[in-house]
Protein backbone atom coordinates (compact mmCIF):
# COMPACT_ATOMS: atom_id res chain seq x y z
CA UNK A 1 0.00 0.00 0.00
CA UNK A 2 1.32 3.41 -0.84
CA UNK A 3 1.01 6.05 1.79
CA UNK A 4 -0.59 9.12 0.28
CA UNK A 5 1.11 12.42 0.77
CA UNK A 6 -1.14 15.11 2.16
CA UNK A 7 -1.04 18.80 1.40
CA UNK A 8 -1.93 21.17 4.22
CA UNK A 9 -3.24 24.61 3.35
CA UNK A 10 -3.08 26.94 6.30
CA UNK A 11 -4.90 30.23 6.24
CA UNK A 12 -3.07 33.08 7.92
CA UNK A 13 -5.97 33.41 10.34
CA UNK A 14 -5.19 29.97 11.76
CA UNK A 15 -1.57 30.78 12.62
CA UNK A 16 -2.44 34.19 13.97
CA UNK A 17 -5.22 32.95 16.26
CA UNK A 18 -3.04 30.12 17.56
CA UNK A 19 -0.13 32.50 18.20
CA UNK A 20 -2.44 34.92 20.00
CA UNK A 21 -3.93 32.11 22.13
CA UNK A 22 -0.43 30.91 23.02
CA UNK A 23 0.60 34.38 24.15
CA UNK A 24 -2.54 34.76 26.23
CA UNK A 25 -2.14 31.35 27.86
CA UNK A 26 1.23 32.33 29.21
CA UNK A 27 3.11 29.32 30.59
CA UNK A 28 0.15 26.92 30.50
CA UNK A 29 -0.67 24.81 27.46
CA UNK A 30 -3.82 25.62 25.60
CA UNK A 31 -5.40 24.14 22.52
CA UNK A 32 -8.50 23.64 20.48
CA UNK A 33 -10.00 22.57 17.21
CA UNK A 34 -9.08 23.24 13.61
CA UNK A 35 -11.98 24.04 11.32
CA UNK A 36 -11.84 23.66 7.59
CA UNK A 37 -12.46 21.14 4.88
CA UNK A 38 -10.78 18.63 2.60
CA UNK A 39 -10.10 19.68 -0.95
CA UNK A 40 -8.50 17.59 -3.68
CA UNK A 41 -6.03 15.73 -1.46
CA UNK A 42 -5.38 18.72 0.77
CA UNK A 43 -6.49 19.55 4.25
CA UNK A 44 -7.58 23.17 4.32
CA UNK A 45 -7.39 24.72 7.78
CA UNK A 46 -9.50 27.87 7.73
CA UNK A 47 -10.05 28.70 11.41
CA UNK A 48 -8.62 27.66 14.78
CA UNK A 49 -10.92 27.86 17.78
CA UNK A 50 -9.83 27.53 21.40
CA UNK A 51 -11.39 24.97 23.70
CA UNK A 52 -10.65 25.67 27.32
CA UNK A 53 -9.24 22.86 29.45
CA UNK A 54 -9.53 23.80 33.14
CA UNK A 55 -7.02 21.06 33.97
CA UNK A 56 -4.36 22.19 31.50
CA UNK A 57 -0.82 22.32 32.87
CA UNK A 58 2.51 23.58 31.61
CA UNK A 59 2.87 20.28 29.81
CA UNK A 60 -0.55 19.07 28.80
CA UNK A 61 -3.87 20.05 27.24
CA UNK A 62 -6.75 17.63 26.78
CA UNK A 63 -9.58 17.72 24.25
CA UNK A 64 -12.77 16.89 26.10
CA UNK A 65 -15.51 15.57 23.82
CA UNK A 66 -18.40 17.44 25.37
CA UNK A 67 -16.71 20.84 25.58
CA UNK A 68 -15.13 20.40 22.15
CA UNK A 69 -18.40 19.44 20.44
CA UNK A 70 -20.12 22.43 22.02
CA UNK A 71 -17.36 24.74 20.84
CA UNK A 72 -17.50 23.23 17.33
CA UNK A 73 -21.24 23.67 17.00
CA UNK A 74 -21.06 27.23 18.31
CA UNK A 75 -18.32 28.12 15.85
CA UNK A 76 -20.06 26.47 12.88
CA UNK A 77 -23.16 28.48 13.69
CA UNK A 78 -21.26 31.76 14.09
CA UNK A 79 -19.07 31.34 11.02
CA UNK A 80 -21.90 29.96 8.87
CA UNK A 81 -19.57 28.78 6.13
CA UNK A 82 -20.98 25.86 4.15
CA UNK A 83 -17.77 23.82 4.00
CA UNK A 84 -16.57 24.16 7.56
CA UNK A 85 -16.22 21.27 9.96
CA UNK A 86 -13.78 19.59 12.30
CA UNK A 87 -10.49 18.66 10.62
CA UNK A 88 -8.04 18.34 13.52
CA UNK A 89 -6.56 19.73 16.72
CA UNK A 90 -4.03 22.31 17.78
CA UNK A 91 -2.26 23.05 21.04
CA UNK A 92 0.63 25.08 22.35
CA UNK A 93 3.94 24.08 23.89
CA UNK A 94 5.38 26.63 26.30
CA UNK A 95 8.76 25.02 25.49
CA UNK A 96 10.66 25.23 22.24
CA UNK A 97 9.77 21.78 21.02
CA UNK A 98 7.50 20.29 18.40
CA UNK A 99 4.96 17.48 18.63
CA UNK A 100 5.74 14.84 21.25
CA UNK A 101 5.17 11.10 20.94
CA UNK A 102 2.06 11.53 23.08
CA UNK A 103 0.82 14.18 20.62
CA UNK A 104 1.32 11.90 17.64
CA UNK A 105 -0.37 9.02 19.44
CA UNK A 106 -3.40 11.16 20.24
CA UNK A 107 -3.94 12.46 16.71
CA UNK A 108 -3.36 8.99 15.25
CA UNK A 109 -5.94 7.60 17.63
CA UNK A 110 -8.43 10.33 16.73
CA UNK A 111 -7.86 9.83 12.99
CA UNK A 112 -9.23 6.28 13.16
CA UNK A 113 -12.71 7.76 13.50
CA UNK A 114 -12.58 9.72 10.22
CA UNK A 115 -12.41 8.83 6.58
CA UNK A 116 -10.29 11.88 5.81
CA UNK A 117 -6.93 12.72 7.39
CA UNK A 118 -6.71 14.87 10.51
CA UNK A 119 -4.25 17.68 11.07
CA UNK A 120 -2.37 18.45 14.27
CA UNK A 121 -0.69 21.82 14.73
CA UNK A 122 1.72 22.43 17.60
CA UNK A 123 2.73 25.95 18.45
CA UNK A 124 6.23 26.17 19.91
CA UNK A 125 7.60 28.76 22.32
CA UNK A 126 9.58 30.34 19.47
CA UNK A 127 6.32 31.02 17.55
CA UNK A 128 7.01 28.22 15.11
CA UNK A 129 4.07 26.01 14.21
CA UNK A 130 4.78 22.36 13.45
CA UNK A 131 2.28 20.12 11.71
CA UNK A 132 1.47 16.42 11.67
CA UNK A 133 -1.09 14.63 9.59
CA UNK A 134 -2.67 11.36 10.68
CA UNK A 135 -4.86 9.19 8.50
CA UNK A 136 -6.64 6.05 9.63
CA UNK A 137 -4.25 5.60 12.51
CA UNK A 138 -0.99 6.39 10.67
CA UNK A 139 1.18 9.49 10.51
CA UNK A 140 1.47 10.69 6.90
CA UNK A 141 4.01 12.91 5.17
CA UNK A 142 2.78 16.39 4.40
CA UNK A 143 3.56 19.61 2.59
CA UNK A 144 2.57 22.83 4.26
CA UNK A 145 1.26 25.76 2.23
CA UNK A 146 0.52 29.03 3.93
CA UNK A 147 -2.00 31.50 2.65
CA UNK A 148 -1.65 35.10 3.57
CA UNK A 149 -4.84 36.79 4.56
CA UNK A 150 -6.08 39.08 1.84
Amino acid sequence: MTLPHVGVILHAEVSSSITAAAAAANEVETGGLLLGWWEAGNIVARYAIEVADPDATTSSWTRDEERAQQALEGALFDLSHPWLGYIGDWHTHPARCGPSNQDEDSIRQASRGYEQPLLLLVHRADDQIEARVAHQGYIRTLTLHQFLAN
Binding site: T62, R63, L76, G85, I87, S106, A110
Partner: protein, 340 residues
Protein backbone atom coordinates in the same frame (compact mmCIF):
# COMPACT_ATOMS: atom_id res chain seq x y z
CA UNK B 1 -33.67 30.09 -8.38
CA UNK B 2 -34.16 26.97 -10.45
CA UNK B 3 -31.62 24.22 -10.91
CA UNK B 4 -31.21 24.14 -14.68
CA UNK B 5 -28.55 21.39 -14.90
CA UNK B 6 -27.63 22.22 -18.47
CA UNK B 7 -24.44 20.16 -18.38
CA UNK B 8 -26.46 17.15 -17.26
CA UNK B 9 -28.95 17.59 -20.09
CA UNK B 10 -26.10 17.74 -22.53
CA UNK B 11 -24.84 14.42 -21.26
CA UNK B 12 -28.35 12.96 -21.31
CA UNK B 13 -28.63 13.91 -24.97
CA UNK B 14 -25.35 12.28 -25.78
CA UNK B 15 -26.47 9.14 -23.88
CA UNK B 16 -29.45 8.77 -26.25
CA UNK B 17 -27.43 9.54 -29.39
CA UNK B 18 -27.66 6.59 -31.81
CA UNK B 19 -23.87 6.15 -31.75
CA UNK B 20 -22.86 2.99 -33.64
CA UNK B 21 -26.46 2.56 -34.80
CA UNK B 22 -25.96 5.55 -37.06
CA UNK B 23 -23.13 3.90 -38.96
CA UNK B 24 -25.02 0.61 -39.09
CA UNK B 25 -28.20 2.26 -40.33
CA UNK B 26 -26.28 4.05 -43.04
CA UNK B 27 -24.60 0.83 -44.13
CA UNK B 28 -27.79 -1.26 -44.07
CA UNK B 29 -29.58 1.37 -46.14
CA UNK B 30 -26.76 1.36 -48.66
CA UNK B 31 -26.74 -2.42 -49.00
CA UNK B 32 -30.50 -2.59 -49.55
CA UNK B 33 -30.49 0.29 -52.06
CA UNK B 34 -27.71 -1.32 -54.04
CA UNK B 35 -29.68 -4.57 -54.39
CA UNK B 36 -32.85 -2.76 -55.44
CA UNK B 37 -31.04 -0.59 -57.97
CA UNK B 38 -29.33 -3.64 -59.50
CA UNK B 39 -32.59 -5.37 -60.35
CA UNK B 40 -33.63 -5.13 -63.99
CA UNK B 41 -37.37 -4.95 -63.40
CA UNK B 42 -37.15 -2.33 -60.68
CA UNK B 43 -34.73 -0.32 -62.78
CA UNK B 44 -37.31 -0.20 -65.54
CA UNK B 45 -39.76 1.20 -62.99
CA UNK B 46 -37.20 3.89 -62.26
CA UNK B 47 -36.39 2.77 -58.71
CA UNK B 48 -34.83 5.54 -56.56
CA UNK B 49 -34.47 4.46 -52.92
CA UNK B 50 -34.49 7.21 -50.34
CA UNK B 51 -33.73 7.10 -46.65
CA UNK B 52 -36.62 8.50 -44.63
CA UNK B 53 -37.87 8.32 -41.09
CA UNK B 54 -36.55 9.51 -37.76
CA UNK B 55 -33.03 8.44 -38.57
CA UNK B 56 -33.00 10.67 -41.64
CA UNK B 57 -34.41 13.58 -39.62
CA UNK B 58 -31.67 13.14 -36.97
CA UNK B 59 -34.28 12.68 -34.29
CA UNK B 60 -33.76 8.95 -33.75
CA UNK B 61 -32.52 7.85 -30.35
CA UNK B 62 -30.55 4.89 -29.10
CA UNK B 63 -31.30 2.08 -29.85
CA UNK B 64 -32.31 2.52 -33.50
CA UNK B 65 -34.19 -0.71 -34.23
CA UNK B 66 -35.51 0.04 -37.71
CA UNK B 67 -34.64 2.21 -40.65
CA UNK B 68 -37.17 3.16 -43.33
CA UNK B 69 -36.30 3.11 -46.99
CA UNK B 70 -38.72 4.73 -49.40
CA UNK B 71 -38.41 2.84 -52.69
CA UNK B 72 -39.68 5.46 -55.14
CA UNK B 73 -40.73 3.92 -58.46
CA UNK B 74 -40.46 7.03 -60.58
CA UNK B 75 -41.68 5.41 -63.81
CA UNK B 76 -44.61 3.56 -62.25
CA UNK B 77 -48.13 4.45 -63.34
CA UNK B 78 -51.59 3.68 -62.07
CA UNK B 79 -51.45 0.18 -63.47
CA UNK B 80 -48.88 -0.80 -60.87
CA UNK B 81 -50.04 -3.57 -58.58
CA UNK B 82 -48.35 -3.08 -55.23
CA UNK B 83 -48.88 -6.69 -54.15
CA UNK B 84 -46.97 -8.04 -57.12
CA UNK B 85 -44.21 -5.50 -56.76
CA UNK B 86 -43.79 -6.24 -53.06
CA UNK B 87 -43.59 -9.93 -53.93
CA UNK B 88 -40.90 -9.12 -56.45
CA UNK B 89 -38.99 -6.91 -54.04
CA UNK B 90 -39.15 -9.68 -51.44
CA UNK B 91 -37.74 -12.14 -53.95
CA UNK B 92 -34.94 -9.83 -55.03
CA UNK B 93 -33.93 -9.02 -51.48
CA UNK B 94 -34.18 -12.62 -50.31
CA UNK B 95 -31.63 -13.59 -52.93
CA UNK B 96 -29.23 -11.00 -51.56
CA UNK B 97 -30.01 -11.49 -47.85
CA UNK B 98 -31.13 -15.14 -47.64
CA UNK B 99 -33.30 -15.97 -44.64
CA UNK B 100 -33.38 -12.39 -43.43
CA UNK B 101 -36.26 -11.07 -45.50
CA UNK B 102 -39.88 -11.00 -44.46
CA UNK B 103 -42.85 -9.81 -46.46
CA UNK B 104 -44.93 -7.52 -44.26
CA UNK B 105 -48.44 -6.26 -44.80
CA UNK B 106 -47.37 -3.06 -46.63
CA UNK B 107 -43.63 -3.35 -46.78
CA UNK B 108 -40.66 -5.68 -46.90
CA UNK B 109 -38.49 -6.07 -43.86
CA UNK B 110 -34.80 -7.00 -44.10
CA UNK B 111 -33.06 -8.06 -40.90
CA UNK B 112 -29.45 -7.20 -40.19
CA UNK B 113 -28.78 -9.50 -37.25
CA UNK B 114 -25.18 -8.35 -36.86
CA UNK B 115 -26.39 -4.80 -36.42
CA UNK B 116 -29.51 -5.81 -34.47
CA UNK B 117 -31.62 -3.60 -36.69
CA UNK B 118 -33.92 -4.00 -39.68
CA UNK B 119 -34.66 -2.04 -42.83
CA UNK B 120 -38.28 -1.53 -43.87
CA UNK B 121 -38.72 -1.06 -47.60
CA UNK B 122 -41.87 0.82 -48.58
CA UNK B 123 -42.72 1.22 -52.24
CA UNK B 124 -44.09 4.47 -53.58
CA UNK B 125 -45.43 5.76 -56.89
CA UNK B 126 -45.57 9.33 -58.09
CA UNK B 127 -48.82 11.29 -57.86
CA UNK B 128 -48.50 14.83 -59.09
CA UNK B 129 -46.20 16.66 -56.65
CA UNK B 130 -46.58 13.94 -54.09
CA UNK B 131 -46.04 10.29 -53.60
CA UNK B 132 -48.44 7.54 -52.82
CA UNK B 133 -47.88 4.40 -50.81
CA UNK B 134 -50.20 1.36 -50.63
CA UNK B 135 -52.63 1.64 -47.75
CA UNK B 136 -54.27 -1.72 -47.83
CA UNK B 137 -53.30 -4.53 -50.20
CA UNK B 138 -55.98 -6.96 -51.25
CA UNK B 139 -55.44 -10.66 -51.83
CA UNK B 140 -55.34 -10.09 -55.60
CA UNK B 141 -52.44 -7.69 -55.30
CA UNK B 142 -54.51 -4.58 -55.95
CA UNK B 143 -54.49 -1.83 -53.40
CA UNK B 144 -55.81 1.53 -52.46
CA UNK B 145 -53.13 4.13 -52.39
CA UNK B 146 -52.62 6.89 -49.91
CA UNK B 147 -50.86 10.16 -50.39
CA UNK B 148 -47.68 10.75 -48.39
CA UNK B 149 -44.85 13.21 -48.26
CA UNK B 150 -42.10 11.79 -46.09
CA UNK B 151 -39.40 14.20 -47.24
CA UNK B 152 -41.52 17.14 -46.17
CA UNK B 153 -41.10 16.25 -42.49
CA UNK B 154 -37.34 16.24 -42.98
CA UNK B 155 -37.54 19.76 -44.35
CA UNK B 156 -39.84 20.93 -41.57
CA UNK B 157 -37.52 19.47 -38.95
CA UNK B 158 -34.52 21.31 -40.40
CA UNK B 159 -36.52 24.54 -40.53
CA UNK B 160 -37.78 24.22 -36.96
CA UNK B 161 -34.28 23.55 -35.70
CA UNK B 162 -33.14 26.80 -37.34
CA UNK B 163 -36.13 28.72 -36.08
CA UNK B 164 -35.90 27.74 -32.41
CA UNK B 165 -32.43 28.61 -31.17
CA UNK B 166 -30.96 28.60 -27.70
CA UNK B 167 -28.72 31.50 -28.71
CA UNK B 168 -30.27 33.91 -31.19
CA UNK B 169 -26.84 34.60 -32.67
CA UNK B 170 -25.88 31.00 -33.28
CA UNK B 171 -27.55 29.01 -36.08
CA UNK B 172 -26.10 25.81 -34.71
CA UNK B 173 -27.78 26.13 -31.35
CA UNK B 174 -31.12 24.65 -32.51
CA UNK B 175 -33.21 23.21 -29.69
CA UNK B 176 -36.02 21.60 -31.67
CA UNK B 177 -34.13 18.42 -32.58
CA UNK B 178 -32.73 17.80 -29.09
CA UNK B 179 -36.14 18.34 -27.51
CA UNK B 180 -37.78 15.88 -29.96
CA UNK B 181 -35.21 13.30 -28.87
CA UNK B 182 -35.92 13.91 -25.21
CA UNK B 183 -39.69 13.69 -25.81
CA UNK B 184 -39.17 10.37 -27.62
CA UNK B 185 -37.14 9.14 -24.65
CA UNK B 186 -39.86 10.28 -22.23
CA UNK B 187 -42.42 8.40 -24.31
CA UNK B 188 -40.30 5.26 -24.29
CA UNK B 189 -40.00 5.53 -20.53
CA UNK B 190 -43.53 6.56 -19.61
CA UNK B 191 -45.73 5.03 -22.34
CA UNK B 192 -44.01 2.24 -24.26
CA UNK B 193 -41.14 1.76 -26.62
CA UNK B 194 -43.07 0.27 -29.51
CA UNK B 195 -43.53 2.07 -32.79
CA UNK B 196 -45.35 5.35 -32.47
CA UNK B 197 -42.53 7.76 -31.85
CA UNK B 198 -43.56 9.73 -34.94
CA UNK B 199 -46.91 10.59 -33.36
CA UNK B 200 -45.14 12.33 -30.48
CA UNK B 201 -42.60 13.92 -32.76
CA UNK B 202 -45.49 15.59 -34.57
CA UNK B 203 -46.97 16.68 -31.23
CA UNK B 204 -43.65 18.23 -30.30
CA UNK B 205 -43.58 20.03 -33.62
CA UNK B 206 -47.02 21.50 -32.92
CA UNK B 207 -46.04 22.45 -29.36
CA UNK B 208 -43.11 24.52 -30.65
CA UNK B 209 -45.21 26.17 -33.36
CA UNK B 210 -48.23 26.78 -31.17
CA UNK B 211 -46.32 28.28 -28.25
CA UNK B 212 -43.48 29.85 -30.25
CA UNK B 213 -41.23 28.71 -27.41
CA UNK B 214 -38.27 30.84 -26.41
CA UNK B 215 -36.42 29.63 -23.32
CA UNK B 216 -32.93 29.72 -21.81
CA UNK B 217 -32.36 26.04 -21.17
CA UNK B 218 -33.26 22.63 -22.61
CA UNK B 219 -34.88 21.82 -19.26
CA UNK B 220 -37.36 24.65 -19.71
CA UNK B 221 -38.14 23.73 -23.34
CA UNK B 222 -38.74 20.09 -22.45
CA UNK B 223 -41.01 20.97 -19.55
CA UNK B 224 -43.19 23.29 -21.65
CA UNK B 225 -43.45 20.77 -24.49
CA UNK B 226 -44.46 17.97 -22.11
CA UNK B 227 -47.08 20.25 -20.57
CA UNK B 228 -48.46 21.14 -24.01
CA UNK B 229 -48.66 17.48 -25.04
CA UNK B 230 -50.28 16.48 -21.74
CA UNK B 231 -52.90 19.21 -22.15
CA UNK B 232 -53.54 18.62 -25.86
CA UNK B 233 -53.46 14.84 -26.14
CA UNK B 234 -56.95 14.25 -24.66
CA UNK B 235 -58.41 16.43 -27.44
CA UNK B 236 -56.73 14.34 -30.11
CA UNK B 237 -58.00 10.94 -29.03
CA UNK B 238 -60.34 10.61 -32.00
CA UNK B 239 -58.68 12.36 -34.93
CA UNK B 240 -55.00 12.57 -34.11
CA UNK B 241 -52.88 15.70 -34.61
CA UNK B 242 -52.80 17.58 -37.89
CA UNK B 243 -50.24 16.22 -40.34
CA UNK B 244 -47.75 19.03 -40.84
CA UNK B 245 -46.70 17.58 -44.20
CA UNK B 246 -50.10 17.37 -45.85
CA UNK B 247 -52.87 19.95 -45.63
CA UNK B 248 -56.14 18.82 -44.03
CA UNK B 249 -54.77 15.42 -43.04
CA UNK B 250 -54.17 14.09 -39.57
CA UNK B 251 -51.74 11.56 -38.18
CA UNK B 252 -53.31 8.17 -37.69
CA UNK B 253 -52.10 5.69 -35.17
CA UNK B 254 -52.81 2.02 -34.65
CA UNK B 255 -53.31 2.73 -30.96
CA UNK B 256 -56.81 2.37 -29.56
CA UNK B 257 -58.70 5.21 -27.91
CA UNK B 258 -58.03 3.66 -24.52
CA UNK B 259 -54.35 3.41 -25.26
CA UNK B 260 -54.21 7.07 -26.25
CA UNK B 261 -56.11 8.04 -23.11
CA UNK B 262 -53.69 6.04 -21.02
CA UNK B 263 -50.78 7.71 -22.80
CA UNK B 264 -52.33 11.10 -22.08
CA UNK B 265 -52.50 10.24 -18.37
CA UNK B 266 -48.87 9.17 -18.35
CA UNK B 267 -47.79 12.34 -20.12
CA UNK B 268 -49.70 14.38 -17.56
CA UNK B 269 -47.68 12.66 -14.84
CA UNK B 270 -44.46 13.22 -16.73
CA UNK B 271 -45.24 16.88 -17.29
CA UNK B 272 -45.97 17.36 -13.61
CA UNK B 273 -42.67 15.73 -12.68
CA UNK B 274 -40.80 17.93 -15.15
CA UNK B 275 -42.44 21.05 -13.75
CA UNK B 276 -41.55 20.02 -10.25
CA UNK B 277 -37.95 19.34 -11.29
CA UNK B 278 -37.68 22.66 -13.07
CA UNK B 279 -38.93 24.58 -10.04
CA UNK B 280 -36.70 22.70 -7.61
CA UNK B 281 -33.88 24.86 -6.22
CA UNK B 282 -31.78 22.00 -4.89
CA UNK B 283 -29.89 20.68 -7.86
CA UNK B 284 -29.50 17.13 -6.51
CA UNK B 285 -33.20 16.79 -5.80
CA UNK B 286 -33.89 18.24 -9.26
CA UNK B 287 -31.39 15.86 -10.88
CA UNK B 288 -33.09 12.80 -9.40
CA UNK B 289 -36.44 13.97 -10.77
CA UNK B 290 -34.98 14.50 -14.23
CA UNK B 291 -33.39 11.07 -13.96
CA UNK B 292 -36.78 9.52 -13.22
CA UNK B 293 -38.37 11.46 -16.06
CA UNK B 294 -35.88 10.29 -18.66
CA UNK B 295 -35.47 6.73 -17.42
CA UNK B 296 -32.97 4.29 -18.86
CA UNK B 297 -31.69 3.61 -22.35
CA UNK B 298 -33.87 1.05 -24.15
CA UNK B 299 -32.75 -2.10 -25.94
CA UNK B 300 -29.12 -1.60 -24.97
CA UNK B 301 -27.07 -4.47 -23.56
CA UNK B 302 -27.12 -2.81 -20.20
CA UNK B 303 -29.75 -0.26 -19.45
CA UNK B 304 -28.15 2.93 -18.24
CA UNK B 305 -29.70 5.98 -16.73
CA UNK B 306 -30.03 8.60 -19.43
CA UNK B 307 -29.69 11.55 -17.07
CA UNK B 308 -26.43 11.48 -15.08
CA UNK B 309 -26.50 12.77 -11.54
CA UNK B 310 -23.86 15.38 -10.79
CA UNK B 311 -20.87 13.93 -8.94
CA UNK B 312 -21.81 15.73 -5.80
CA UNK B 313 -25.25 14.11 -5.58
CA UNK B 314 -26.28 10.88 -3.92
CA UNK B 315 -28.76 8.62 -5.69
CA UNK B 316 -31.47 9.61 -3.21
CA UNK B 317 -31.16 13.28 -4.17
CA UNK B 318 -29.16 14.36 -1.14
CA UNK B 319 -26.00 16.34 -1.67
CA UNK B 320 -22.63 14.84 -0.90
CA UNK B 321 -19.80 17.24 -0.88
CA UNK B 322 -18.01 16.58 -4.09
CA UNK B 323 -14.96 14.37 -4.37
CA UNK B 324 -12.74 17.39 -4.79
CA UNK B 325 -14.26 19.27 -1.92
CA UNK B 326 -15.44 17.68 1.28
CA UNK B 327 -16.94 19.54 4.16
CA UNK B 328 -15.12 19.24 7.48
CA UNK B 329 -16.52 16.71 9.95
CA UNK B 330 -19.61 17.63 11.96
CA UNK B 331 -18.33 15.97 15.13
CA UNK B 332 -15.17 16.02 17.19
CA UNK B 333 -13.48 12.68 18.09
CA UNK B 334 -15.16 10.63 20.77
CA UNK B 335 -13.69 10.56 24.25
CA UNK B 336 -10.67 12.54 25.38
CA UNK B 337 -7.48 13.26 23.47
CA UNK B 338 -4.51 14.23 25.58
CA UNK B 339 -1.70 16.31 24.15
CA UNK B 340 1.52 16.79 26.05
Amino acid sequence: MMATLATQFREALSAIEPGDDAKHAQDAHKQVSKVLEADEKLRKLGVAPLLIGSYKRHVSIRRVKDVDVFARLTEADSSLRPGAILDHVTEVLDKAFPGCVERQHRSVKVDFPDYDLSVDVVIARPCGDHWEIPQKIEADGRASWVETNPTKMTELTTEANKQFLLYDDDEDSGVYVPVVKLVRQVRRTWVDDQRGGYYFEVLTYHAFQDKQLNEKTIAAYLTLVLRWIADTLPELVDDGPADPTLPDKTIKTKATVDQIKAAADRFAEAAELAEEALAEEDSCRAAVMWRNLLGVTKNTEQSEYVFPLPDYCNADGTTKYSSTLMKGAPAVPAGRGRYA
